[in-house]
């Protein structure tokens, strides 16, 4: 069994491997960092540590019409994950919960008709007529280094 954290980005639902996630915090003041890439929202103070925050929608390259619907500012969260020993915040529209899935239930199919880039998808989970897209965070965050 594998556990995933599920969340909303715009109108779609996505999933992250729970092992990677450290904590979820309420959206707080993000300080913009100039001269950095488009999808970096800025930095936050996490108990004295400076943590970068990523606008995952921009990282994934979601189309504005997919990204900008179904948003409630109050429900926005920052999911803090640990990748390559670095703490990174991921900005999401709302957190849904945790799901447990058998490995066999994960389909390695490509998702058609979505604006999200294929290489960032690690598979999909079909649940209650709902589609959960599993994001390969390593590839999404460190795409420069991977390519």
């Amino acid at each position: 069994m594998k556990q995933f954290l599920t969340f909303h980005l715009g109108k779609e639902s996505y999933a992250l491997n729970l092992v990677q996630t450290k904590e979820i915090i309420k959206n707080k003041k993000i300080t913009n960092v100039p001269n950095t890439e488009e999808d970096i929202s800025g930095v936050i103070n996490l108990r004295g540590q400076i943590v970068p925050v990523l606008d995952l929608k921009k990282s994934l390259g979601l189309k504005p019409e997919d990204a900008n619907t179904n948003i409630n500012e109050e429900e926005k969260r920052i999911v803090v994950v640990e990748l390559n020993n670095l703490l990174i915040g991921i900005l999401v529209d709302s957190v849904l919960g945790v799901v447990e899935v058998d490995e066999e239930e994960i389909e390695k199919v490509s998702v058609e008709d979505k604006s999200i880039k294929k290489e960032y998808i690690d598979g999909v989970i079909k649940m209650d007529r709902q589609l959960l897209i599993i994001i390969d965070l390593n590839k999404t965050v460190f795409r420069g280094e991977v390519e």
Binding site: P34, T36, Q49, P52
Partner: protein
């Protein structure tokens, strides 16, 4: 296992220290062989404690090696060996081997095999017998005292007299027995001869007497006086008088002298070795405290206790901060002392003659800064010798002193530490720099035409630049001065180059005293708060839009007869707004900045307060960000970025 690791770290620290002492002392010995005594003593001690430490840790080869070197020192100490090139070379080799073994151990590898060197040292000690004693079968020996004799001597010691070891060397072709007799006679006049070799009986029996007379003498005269007395005897070549170490501490142990011992104890305060990581943590905690203090201050409560407690909290925090900073400070000598050996080896290898001078090695800098400086300084010094100092012949032809001078100097200036690397070599010709820069595609020809001398020289710091035509094994290595500049920049420092073709070159590095906490001016740019470290700020102004002039498409102001270009902070930060809007305001806040030899005015939206900030590095995720050097946490718990203004212009 942990305990051993702890000791291991201690061992490495101490070993490094002793190694450095040895290196330094050999260099001195090479320069001034005549004043060898004190140098050798210190070397002997270093080798000895190295041996002790290695033995405790169970490093057999290191123990043996230090033991051999210790033996060699001992021979020199006893005057049985001339100090010559081959000896110096052997000693250096030995130190290098020690260094290699230690680095092997550090990397958890086997101790390196050094049997070859050990054999060499054994041959050296064995073969070249001490200063000409052909006739000697009873090789010179130290007088050995047995237990009873030691007790006997102790009974004779009073607060006014001392126990001396005398070594008297007689001229080889003199009447040895007669002279030896005279030595004994004279010695008996200045003190009490406890033991002698040869003794009176031996001399009277006409047993063979060699050039050496050894004495243990108890006397109330000073060693200098004794020496002078004995030297008056005809055919005495050399006299050595040393307080017998065995009895030196004897008196201080004595109950009668308890008072002396006590006062001595108070002169040296005890020290502790601390892991640098613990100091970092401590500094972080002080930083947290500081942030929270600032937050508390920003509450601005109307409450008696609050108003009473704030100044006290402020004082305690500042003192704590000051203390922690003090603890983190280390003298630059820690790294400076590594260089004489490198300079010596390199100049020999290059066939150059260099007088290397170190000044201000007691100047203190934050430990974390010091560690970063080794490579840049190493690079600059290598450059000075390789490219700066000319060959002796060339220098003579140019009417310069044959021996070139390289100066490494550190001093404090305000809240900055300045380190200078200076040579009196051939200097750098700005036009040559430009030529190379164009060749290597660093700049375009047209660009060069508009450049001043200083700008031309500074091209040398550009990536992809290296004036040496061929990559020499010395300063080449594919790294240029751009790397040096990068390191200095990363330390929030600054590097300036001054050079006069034909007379020399000087690099001036200025560094903040400490990285962790600094005073900064807070400013607002496009709604966000930024911090500018005070050490780079010249002054703050509020100017009128009407005082702005335009020169070559650049906004400037004239300040005390100096034309200062204005830089729009919004533009430098690539903020997604229209630039140059400041001209529409009637009061424009400007921060004038010193960047090397340039000055410019940074236009911001609003000048806020000054405060202590705790410098935090941005997460490694970012790498280098243009014009941003770090971040800090401000009063309300938000993050403010620190502007890297030196490179903003």
């Amino acid at each position: 296992v942990d305990e051993r690791n702890q000791y291991l770290q201690m061992f490495f620290d101490e070993a490094a220290e002793n190694l450095q002492i040895l290196n330094k002392r050999i260099l001195e010995l090479e320069k001034r062989p005549e004043s060898s005594r004190e140098i050798i003593d210190s070397m002997f001690r270093a080798a000895h404690s190295l041996k002790g430490m290695a033995a405790t840790m169970g490093f057999a080869k290191l123990t043996e090696l230090s033991h051999k070197i210790e033996n060699l020192m001992d021979e020199i100490r006893k005057g049985q060996r001339e100090i010559d090139d081959s000896l110096i070379k052997l000693l250096f080799k030995g130190i290098d081997h020690i260094g290699e073994i230690i680095s092997c151990l550090k990397n958890r590898r086997e101790e390196r095999d050094i049997s070859g060197y050990l054999q060499k040292i054994a041959d050296f000690i064995g073969n070249k017998r001490p200063v000409n004693i052909e006739q000697d079968k009873t090789a010179p020996f130290e007088l050995v005292l047995d237990k009873e004799e030691i007790q006997d001597i102790k009974n004779r010691i009073t607060p006014t007299n001392s126990v001396y070891r005398l070594t008297v060397v007689l001229a080889r072709d003199s009447l040895l027995d007669v002279r030896a007799y005279m030595v004994l006679k004279k010695a008996a006049e200045v003190g009490y001869i406890f033991k002698a070799s040869p003794d009176k009986e031996k001399i009277e029996k006409e047993e063979i007497v060699n050039q050496f007379v050894y004495l243990i003498l108890i006397s109330n005269l000073s060693p200098q006086d004794i020496k002078r007395e004995i030297e008056e005897i005809t055919d005495v070549v050399k006299v050595k008088v040393v307080k017998d170490p065995e009895f030196q501490d004897f008196l201080t142990d004595d109950a009668n002298n308890n008072r002396i011992q006590k006062t001595n104890k108070f002169q040296v305060s005890p020290t502790v070795r601390v892991d640098i990581n613990k100091l970092d943590q401590l500094m972080n905690m002080v930083g947290e405290l500081l942030i929270n203090k600032t937050r508390l201050e920003s509450l601005n409560l109307d409450n008696e206790t609050y108003k009473d407690i704030l100044p006290q909290l402020d004082r305690v925090t500042m003192e704590l901060h000051h203390l922690v900073m003090q603890v983190r400070m280390v003298p630059v000598g820690v790294i400076f002392n590594r260089f004489p050996r490198m300079v010596r080896d390199l100049s020999k290898q290059m066939g150059k003659e260099v007088n290397f001078i170190i000044e201000g090695e007691d100047t203190e800098l934050d430990r974390s800064i010091i560690d970063e400086l080794t490579d840049p300084l190493n690079h600059l010094l290598r450059n000075a010798i390789d490219h700066g100092i000319e060959s002796p012949a060339f220098r003579e032809r140019k009417g310069k002193e044959k021996v070139g001078t390289v100066l490494l100097k550190a001093y404090q200036k305000g809240s900055e530490i300045i380190i200078e690397v200076e040579d009196n070599g051939q200097g750098i010709n700005p036009d040559n720099v430009v030529k190379v820069a164009i060749e290597k595609g660093v700049i375009a020809r047209e660009q060069a035409e508009e450049m001043g001398e200083i700008e031309k020289l500074n091209l040398i710091f550009e990536p992809g630049f290296s004036t040496a035509r061929e990559v020499s094994d010395v300063s080449g290595r594919g790294v240029g001065l751009d790397v040096v500049k990068k390191v200095v920049d990363s330390l929030d420092g600054n590097i300036i180059l001054q050079s006069q073709p034909g007379t020399g070159t000087r690099f001036i590095i200025s560094l903040p005293l400490t990285l962790a906490i600094t005073r900064a001016l807070m400013v607002k740019i496009n709604g966000e708060v930024f911090a500018i470290p005070l050490n780079v700020i010249n002054e703050t102004l509020e100017i009128e839009a009407s005082s702005i002039k335009r020169v070559k498409g650049q906004d400037v102001i004239v300040l005390r007869n100096r034309t200062i270009p204005l830089v729009d902070s919004r533009e430098r930060l690539n903020l997604n707004v229209e630039y140059g809007l400041y001209k529409e305001r009637n009061k424009i806040p400007v921060v004038t900045i010193n960047s090397g030899e340039k000055q410019f005015g940074l236009v911001v939206d609003e000048l806020l307060n000054q405060q202590e900030i705790v410098v935090k590095s941005l997460n490694d995720f970012f790498g280098d960000i243009k014009n941003i050097s770090g971040a800090t946490i401000i009063g309300d718990g938000d993050v403010a970025l620190i502007l890297d203004v030196r490179n903003i212009a």
